[in-house]
Structure formats: C-alpha cells, structure tokens
C-alpha cells in the first residue's frame, strides 16, 4: 500500500496518493473507509521552477532528516484532522536531485465538501514550509546556495495560527 506520509527519492505519483487518501492507506482501514462519502478532493503539487530571485535555476537538490521529517508530516496530518474532522490528507515529499518541472511535494486532501478539502490542503503546505526538516539547495547558473525559510518549531502556536488563517481565509 502507498503510505499517507512519505519522504524519498522516487518520482511522486499523485494518482497513487489520491487512491491512498480515498481508500485509507492501511488495509484494515479500507473496508471501513471506502471514501464513498467524499465529495471533494483538493490537491497541490510543488514544482521546480526554472528561475528564482532573478537567478536561472539549473536543478534543485533536496535533503531531509528523514525520520523527523516523517514525524513532522504525521503531525501535520493529525493537526489537519483535528481542524477539519471530515478531511483526510496525505503528503509525499521528494528528496535528491530534481530537474526543472518535476514535483518536489504532492498533497491530497479528501472531504465531504470542498471547503474543508481546500482548507486542509492549503494548511498542509503552509505547515510543511514551517516545520518539516527538509532543505533545498538551488543550483543556478553561476553557483549554488542552500535556501533557508522558517526556523522549525512545531510548538510555535503563532506560526500554526498563521497557517490556519491562510487556509481558512
């Protein structure tokens, strides 16, 4: 079975993750949760762009602290379930060298209604950027640089509220 949360170097597969979210990733869940009450799926994919901050990007390299990244992503799944009980999400993040146009992350949210699906999906990507220990090194024409965003702190309630507000706005 495809897991709901994964970090690895294989290309990402949105259709497979969607099936996992709709049917439940654990075989025992599948009978109970056929996903037939789901009326909406919202998905997100992050792609490698060919430019950033005026630089021409050649490719990106993603590095993860995998066991902690998995835990942080599982935490995001639980946070989303608490905020939108009818929604279920799955997220996969890729590592290693990614070429222009390839997906670095995919997120799928399923729910009875579209409002919760969109909100849970948006919340998840905002939280990934806040607390998941993954880094990208940008290889551009002329050099390379590690990009740095948020200082990860899962207990920072202000950051969590910010993600929630963006998702629900």
């Amino acid at each position: 079975m495809v897991p709901l949360v994964a970090v690895g170097s294989a290309p990402l597969d949105l259709a497979a993750l969607t099936t996992a979210v709709l049917t439940g990733s654990v075989p025992a869940d599948a009978a109970a949760a056929q996903g037939t009450g789901d009326g909406a799926i919202a998905s997100f994919a992050g792609l490698v762009r060919d430019h950033n901050l005026g630089r021409r990007v050649r490719f990106l390299e993603y590095e993860a602290y995998e066991p902690l990244a998995i835990r942080a992503m599982e935490r995001i799944v639980e946070e989303a379930r608490a905020a939108w009980p009818s929604a279920r999400i799955g997220l996969h993040h890729r590592t290693g060298r990614l070429e222009i146009g390839e997906a670095s992350i995919i997120i799928v949210a399923a729910s009875a209604h579209r409002g919760d699906a969109f909100a849970a999906c948006r919340y998840a990507i905002e939280r990934v950027k806040q607390i998941v220990p993954i880094w990208k090194r940008e290889h551009f024409e002329g050099g390379d640089v590690w990009l740095e965003g948020a200082v990860a702190d899962p207990d920072d309630t202000a950051a969590r509220q910010k993600a929630y507000k963006i998702a629900c706005a």
Binding site: Y65, I125, K129, P133, K136, E148, V151, A152, P154
Partner: protein, 81 residues
C-alpha cells in the same frame, strides 16, 4: 558519555561533515554539545539564533538533557515544499 551529532544542509557544509561522534562530560544538554562544537568550529556560531535542534529525531530545546548514545541534530531554517 558518547553522543552522535548530525548536521544538515548549510550547517553540514560548514561542519564539513554530516555526522560526528563526541564524548561529553555528563550531565550534558544540547547546549553543552553545541557550545563545544562552536568553540571547535566557530563558523557554526551564526546559526545559534536561527536553528532548530532535535534529539533522537524529535524536536527538542537547547536545555534538553542528553543520555549516552543520543543522536543530536542541528537544523538550519527549513526550506521544503
């Protein structure tokens, strides 16, 4: 006691390695290990104010106590997604 130290992303570049092992006198905290590492590799110091730490692959605070065999990780600001 002996702990494993892990560095990621630019901290790994600055340290010149992703992993090293250090013996520290107990009782020790994450801060103890970090202070020792910065005295050894001063360039790491710039991250003190903008860094997360983890012990045994769980987020932790600088004041977290360490035990024999722990894995301590120093994490620059994240940039996934």
């Amino acid at each position: 006691m002996r702990v494993t130290v892990r560095f990621f992303a630019r901290l790994r570049d600055l340290a010149g390695t992703g992993e090293l092992v250090r013996d520290v006198a107990g009782p020790a905290t994450v801060q103890t290990v970090w202070t020792s590492l910065v005295s050894e590799m001063p360039s790491l110091g710039e991250y003190e104010k903008a860094m997360s730490v983890a012990v045994n692959a769980e987020y932790a605070r600088m004041a977290a106590p360490l035990r024999e065999g722990d894995e301590v990780a120093f994490l620059p600001p994240v940039s996934g997604g």
